[in-house]
Amino acid sequence: MASVKLTNVKKIYDNKVVAVHDFNLDIKDKEFVVFVGPSGCGKSTTLRMVAGLEEISEGTVEIDGEVVNDLQPKDRNIAMVFQNYALYPHMTVYDNIAFSLRLQKLPEDVIYNKVTNAAEILGITDYLMRKPRALSGGQRQRVAIGRAMVRDSKVFLMDEPLSNLDAKLRNQMRAEIILLRQKLNTTFIYVTHDQTEAMTLGDRIVIMKDGYIMQVGTPTEVFEMPENLFVAEFIGAPKMNIMHTELSCENGKYYVHPFGARLPVEGDKGAKLNELRVPGKQIILGVRPEHIQLAKEAGPNTIPVKLEVNEMMGSELHLHVYTEDGTRLIVRVPTIDLDPEQRNSLVQGAALNITFGGKVMHFFDKETEHNILLP
């Protein structure tokens, strides 16, 4: 129910560690924004600055247009779910959820309605009279979410709420968060280091590295048009294949030459290169594993590789291959595309030929690692 705006926000810890550099972000009302990045990149720090748990060294944070830099957390009207749940161990689940409402001095019957309502949504009605220590991890997580839910706050903050759960429960809770989001209809900021969570939950994703924003965009944008090599490698699993190669231009047509092959750049990408008048030069080429195909036979536009590991994932195979010069690549092949004979031939050491189309290439500058197509 509120917009959040961070302007030139910077965080310097006492030990002179700069955890966040010049963070600018405009979060719209009712938007679901996900901060994602590797460990230590400053996601939690940024979130905690929004919550008021961490002092803002420079810049301003606004909630609903009001600068909240100097407001205590209690005056910011936010709700937060912590990674370690942070349930009050001496209170029952009911009291945990009712805690903030009692601080607001709401009448007990209103509190009762709100708590039981939240408990119903989260499926924890049966545990309301238990203490947190008598709950499983998933149940605790629900209580933590319930506690944040009942507050009707302007912004809902979540710091890696699912990272303590096992894979199955995490998938389930992820779906529940999507449902919850539809029910609550408020502004969400969600922190995770898991790109799958980011992609599935976020309206917009903020990818961070070492305290810097690397890219802000919708899941589709960051997946299809990564601004730089870091984002390209971070988003998508298994991660994008990287090849150091040359981009050449012949009569307005562009070619890449990975490992001796010669592959034309096609479609939008070729047109864009043309439009930007990119000269032929050494570049970093990125191709996602699912965009590489196995070629039936060797040719001018195939790359000869040897199979190292064949990972059977069920509906698809992850083939870890290496080229003549030892570069490792990953190829993702749908199982359904292979006949049994082909499948049986995919043993360690098998010689394969791979190729990929001209529309799926990503080009990054060798020095700046910036996407050449995004000036």
Binding site: A79, A86, S100, L103, R147
Partner: protein, 385 residues
């Protein structure tokens, strides 16, 4: 019986044995010495243990008691030595193999448990004797002086009646002590807990140096400042008849330095609980009262108890501040005036015992109510802090 791992049980035995040796060895020496000098009987030796320090009094000679006690002590010492050996073997052997886990552990546990329990019973009897003695003496009405037997010949409440009779200053002392202890308990607990919370949760300039400074300052005995404190109190007019507020001031003044145990305990409570509460809309004070304190009940109780006990039993400073003015005395100082000379001791001995019992009552009640938490509190803060 829970099965224990060999390493901790070995250490426990070692500690128990060490304590035993530390207690027994000097006691034996002392008893032998006492036996040679005035040859006290068994019961009277106990009497001596209690009162010798305060007032030596001639006791009938009888070698047997002292000899018995010496034998008992030697026995304890022998048990201690056995315990040491068992413990050392236990420690050396390390974790038991599967075989002995099934066969030997139970018997070994049973033996060591029995030994420890016998030991504890013996120790507690020795420990309790003086207290039983005092209670019994306080009901003795046939004479007021010290005697060589424990069970009174005639029972009655005369001593109690006399300390609460008109003209007795005892109620006044009692009230003084109670006011001081209560005020100190309340104020000190509040100060200590706030201090601990602050040092545990807030980060401010000079926090570390301040903590170190207080730690070092705490190493000097408080008595060192007595003369100058008296001077200050007397300038403020808070000595003699008005010693009570003065003493409260003294007891409470340095209480902030007692933050150590409770800060250690607070440090073990995850900070994200504070943060969750603050996000939930709590002020810092509400965090302290609604989250931190309910989670640290043991340490709060511990703080209250220690804060109450210190003024309740204080003698040195209370004596100094009251300066012989009966109106400003606490019980310890006041009752001491009953025993100022041998002739007074002759007249007031049983009364003194009665006074002692009355003094003990609130503390006993307090302990009985809070004892469960007290034990938890000490270990909880100490181990985790």
């Amino acid at each position: 019986m829970k099965t224990r791992k060999s390493l901790p049980s070995g250490i426990v035995m070692l500690i128990v044995a060490a304590c035993l040796i530390a207690v027994c060895a000097p006691l034996i020496l002392w008893i032998r010495h006492a036996a040679a000098m005035d040859s006290a009987s068994f019961m009277e030796t106990c009497q001596t243990i209690v009162h010798r320090i305060a007032h030596p009094f001639p006791i009938d000679p009888d070698h047997m008691g002292a000899v018995l006690l010496t034998i008992l002590m030697l026995l304890l010492l022998a048990i201690a030595v056995v315990l040491v050996i068992v413990a050392v073997i236990n420690l050396l052997r390390g974790p038991r193999d599967e075989q002995s886990r099934h066969m030997g552990l139970r018997t070994a546990n049973a033996i060591s448990n029995t030994a420890i329990h016998i030991l504890l019973v013996v120790i507690s009897v020795i420990w309790l004797l003086p207290f039983i003695f005092i209670v019994l003496q306080s009901f003795r009405v046939e004479s007021t002086y010290q005697v060589g037997y424990i069970i009174p010949e005639k029972w009655g409440f005369d001593n109690y009646v006399s300390i609460f009779s008109a003209g007795s200053n005892f109620p006044r002392w009692y009230l003084n002590t109670f006011i001081m202890a209560l005020a100190t308990a309340v104020l000190q607990t509040v100060i200590v807990l706030c201090m601990s919370y602050t040092l545990s949760r807030f980060r401010f300039k000079m926090r570390k140096p301040l903590m170190k400074f207080m730690l070092v300052l705490g190493m000097f005995p408080g008595i060192l400042g007595m003369i100058i404190l008296y001077r200050i109190l007397s300038d403020l007019g808070l000595t003699q008849a008005h010693a009570v507020p003065g003493l409260i001031l003294v007891y409470v003044a340095s209480s902030g330095m007692g933050y150590y145990v409770s800060k250690g305990f607070f440090d073990t409570i995850p900070k994200s609980l504070d943060e969750a509460a603050r996000v939930d809309g709590a002020t810092r004070a509400q965090v302290l009262f609604k989250i931190i304190l309910p989670l640290s009940k043991p340490i709060v109780i511990y703080t209250i108890l220690t804060a109450f006990m210190a003024p309740w039993g204080d003698f040195v400073f209370a004596k100094y501040a009251s300066m012989n003015n009966q109106l400003g005395m606490n019980v310890a100082v006041g009752m001491n005036t009953w025993l100022a000379t041998p002739s007074m001791l002759f007249a007031n001995y049983t009364k003194f015992c009665a006074g002692g019992v009355v003094v003990a009552i609130p503390v006993v009640i307090l302990f009985m109510c809070l004892q469960r938490y007290y034990v938890e509190g000490v270990t909880g803060g100490a181990v985790k802090g």
